[in-house]
Symmetry: C2
Subunit: 541 residues, 2 copies
């Protein structure tokens, strides 16, 4: 008789996570005893290398996405955030979704593929005023923001204000900053033709880079120089050997105190480990999980890492760079090593050395650094760049859609439409009918309720018994205890009548409570009184 | 010598507004002395009849949009909200954009084309828990919500909860409710095949309608019966002669108290006049501006209305129905009547009687009621429905894109991806550098600031002189006066040092202040003290 299949949980649905799950599915189809679960915040895989094209509108938003349920046939998918990982107990706890109950999954092997997150802390004003460029949402937001600014600039009569609106600043001259600046330059200079009242010579695209050449360290000096010259020739202002030191609603501030008046600052620079990766308590080196060449995380048992969050040594001892091609090869090896581990076989070591490097430079230009010392620049490199990424797109349907999108863009005018999808508000209201449960004891508490109209009964379990600990009416609040202590709900709240409440999210509660002592105090007072009251209950009972 | 051209301001960029501007542009090209300005919240025109197709994913989001700057060649476009209209002074004040200064435009003729807005007040819980279906953002939000619910349902182990997640309720059995229910039914039943863990027989699409037949009053009894039977045959549950009486986070409540457990309630029913239309002080009949057959608004001078916000009598005395075909014909007549008015000629009267009615029923079925008593139902009507709307799409580029989109959907699998574009938070932070102005005297005040770190100087004009009225530091607030009184900023605030502030929007401020007296009190106290202090200043000076 066979042992039960090994349960593998993969955290993260980028290149590393998705290709690990795919490779495990293929091995399972050939008889390997594994069962795969993937946890990802979205139900789609984003084809990261094409994100800059979303800003420029060269591909549609949807074209960069592949539905995970269509890519992965037998993998169990949870579209959730990860709340906690317990390596000792071998469990992953998922954050609550529509229902407020946390969910726990058990694993035999854990694959960490969570990439990195944008981290703007450390530079004043950056978290508040810079636009990150990392996710699909970021790319769509940048595009919308840029169009919005053009609309405003077209009717701005104050010259200084208008020039600030027409200045677009990108910080960081690595692959991603260079591609964004180039895409933005192409897009803005073409879109602005629809705005006759905008003086076209007032448009500035500024790229701020700490090095003396763009893509320095990523490409050979010759190609880096080519890229630097190509961007400058397209009219992009390069501010080299400069660093961003602060950001405000109206300017980007450089290290020497120089201020560039702008309404658009895109930063591609700081990234840091996903908080879940940090919470594992495993050794991090330069923010990445320290791995063996087998992709096993050092100092752990049956925990593996892949992609940008993993520091994997290559044959020459250098760390594997954070690119899609490396993540894909790591993923395939990782899947084989998990199956080998289950069969008691020796794991293999990562031996891929890279196929080359590609970067788009706008205006249908690119640079490519290939094996055997081959180099390519300009339009041929750009055709290769599109070809390689098109080939890598998962699935024939996706390939067809992108091809259609590229072909129609050659023939049809661009779409400078600012997708207005509305903003959500933090202070929402909610209505409940008599008898409905607002939250139940043990649920995750992520909001505070203030009664506008109606009555609420708060009940708590004492041993086997449920007892009413409070009946509340208009002007009273409930749910504050979970927010103050970050614990699960300590009681159940149920509407006694039709009920209207104001709902304040935990994050907005802490922002307000942090800076307004008057705001925090009444909640603390009432929480203290209620805790005391509940403690006395059992003595009475 | 010619008189200066007549300045026409068109408010609203739906069918009525856009076609009025287009017709005026054409007349101007032929020599008419008019100058057109269009004010619209978005920089695109939404092709409303295709919105239900966005839910089902039959057309891409972008395909329903046409950039206004490409449609309109000589019209001046303001992408802004309207803050106020002064009919006596003949001015329109635009709401502030990136800069906080309101902007005023003068007109000789005003065209009101603001349509209607969704108004969920009046039914308990509807504003909080029902999804409206009116704008593009609504359609995208419904699609995302539905996919999100399917993701959650696929891993929900509580059977009651899962069945609630898989129940989708649509309220309203007019054209729009019928099309939404049909599109949703097609979409959910096809998408659910990607979720092997969802029991397909638990999916329910429920359509609640107050009449005894769908589309009653809009179509002949025969076609209404056909539509009713067609939807029922597709597995849509019809709850006829029923009305929604309340909505909660977990249920739709009907008039007789019956509750349908659901996480998705879409309401197509209540709509009311745009608040700007209400603020004009002109006579409204059933929420629409009372117009002559010439499209002039009764009791006004050089104020015209068109489309859904206008009550225009047809030849038979009946009001013109709120459809695209009527709005387009009204717009053309309206443009001619404005030019006629300027030349001292007599205006013409609206004489269009309608070309027929079309409604999609899902499963590639539709109903059509045509002139001369012609009727069509089923697949031929559906082909006609697509053909007519495709033909009406503005511009050849748009027609091509939609045709490509339809053709590729025949061949390619659908995309059940839940576009995660992130939520914005209400309590944002902002960072300013020394010397920057946070707001200036006279700006529109739409937020409150609380100082986390740094110092702020508040200066006020007294006659010709600027004087510092306060210097504030951590823990202090400013900007509350404009929020309490809804006046323009009464002073200028400038950062004296690098400054970090917490920013609370006006709408969130009023929600919190309305239900939390403790929250409102300190702001009122400080506003009173500051007002008193400022009043004393001039005496001292």
């Amino acid at each position: 008789m066979n042992a039960p299949p090994a349960r593998v949980i993969v955290l993260g649905g980028g290149f590393g996570g998705v290709y690990t799950a795919l490779a495990l599915e293929q091995l399972a189809a050939k008889g390997a005893q594994v069962e795969v679960t993937l946890v990802n915040r979205e139900n789609y895989f984003v084809f990261q290398p094409m994100l800059a094209e979303v800003i420029a509108g060269d591909v549609g938003i949807i074209d960069t996405l592949s539905p995970l349920r269509q890519l992965l046939k037998t993998t169990r998918l949870f579209v959730r955030d990860v709340q906690a990982v317990d390596l000792a107990a071998r469990t992953v706890t998922l954050a609550p979704g529509l229902t407020r109950r946390p969910q726990e999954l058990e694993f035999d092997h854990l694959v960490v593929a969570l990439g990195t997150v944008t981290d703007f802390r450390g530079i004043a004003g950056l978290p508040e005023h810079a636009l990150p460029f990392k996710t699909l949402a970021d790319a769509v937001r940048i595009r919308n923001h840029v169009i919005g600014v053009l609309e405003q600039a077209s009717e701005e009569r104050d010259g200084d204000e208008r020039r600030a609106m027409l200045s677009f600043v990108v910080a960081g001259g690595g692959f991603s900053g260079t591609e964004v600046a180039a895409a933005l330059n192409d897009f803005v200079r073409s879109a602005v033709r629809d705005y006759p009242s905008i003086p076209q010579n007032e448009v500035r695209i500024v790229l701020v880079h700490s090095g003396g050449r763009l893509l320095e360290g990523e490409l050979t000096p010759g190609l880096a120089s080519y890229a630097t010259t190509a961007l400058a020739a397209q009219g992009i202002e390069l501010m080299l050997n400069e660093r961003l030191s602060a950001a405000t609603p109206g300017s980007a501030v450089l290290g020497d105190g120089w201020r560039i008046p702008t309404r658009t600052l895109i930063s591609t620079v700081p990234s840091s480990p996903n908080p879940v990766v940090e919470s594992l308590g495993l050794p991090l080196v330069r923010g990445r999980l320290d791995c063996e060449a087998t992709l096993a995380v050092k100092g752990s048992e049956r925990v593996w890492a892949v992609g940008d969050c993993a520091l994997v040594p290559m044959r020459d001892g250098q760390p594997s760079p954070p690119t899609a091609q490396h993540a894909i090869r790591q993923a395939k090896l990782l899947a084989r090593n998990i199956v080998a581990h289950e069969s008691g076989l020796k794991p293999r070591r990562f031996a891929f050395t890279g196929l080359g490097k590609l970067g788009a430079l706008g205006h249908r230009r690119a640079v490519a650094q290939l094996p055997l010392g081959l180099r390519l620049a300009g339009m041929p490199a750009w055709l290769m760049w599109r070809g390689v990424y098109w080939w890598k797109l998962p699935g024939a349907a996706r390939k067809t859609r992108v091809a259609i999108s590229w072909l129609s863009d050659l023939a049809l005018p661009p779409h400078p439409v600012q997708l207005n999808l509305g903003a959500s508000r933090a202070t929402a209201q909610a209505h409940y009918e008599e008898g409905e449960v607002i939250f139940a004891e043990g649920d995750t508490g992520d909001s505070l309720f203030m009664i506008i109209e109606g009555r609420v009964e708060v009940r708590k379990r004492f041993g086997d018994e449920q007892r009413t600990v409070a009946t509340l009416g208009p002007g009273e609040y409930f749910g504050e205890m979970a927010l103050l202590g970050r614990d699960p709900r300590s009681a159940t709240a149920r509407a006694l009548t039709p009920l209207d409440v104001l709902v304040l999210s935990a994050s907005d509660f802490s922002a307000l409570a942090g800076s307004l002592p008057e705001f925090r105090r009444p909640f603390e007072d009432i929480a203290r009184r209620r805790t005391d009251a509940n403690r006395e209950e059992p003595a009475e009972g």
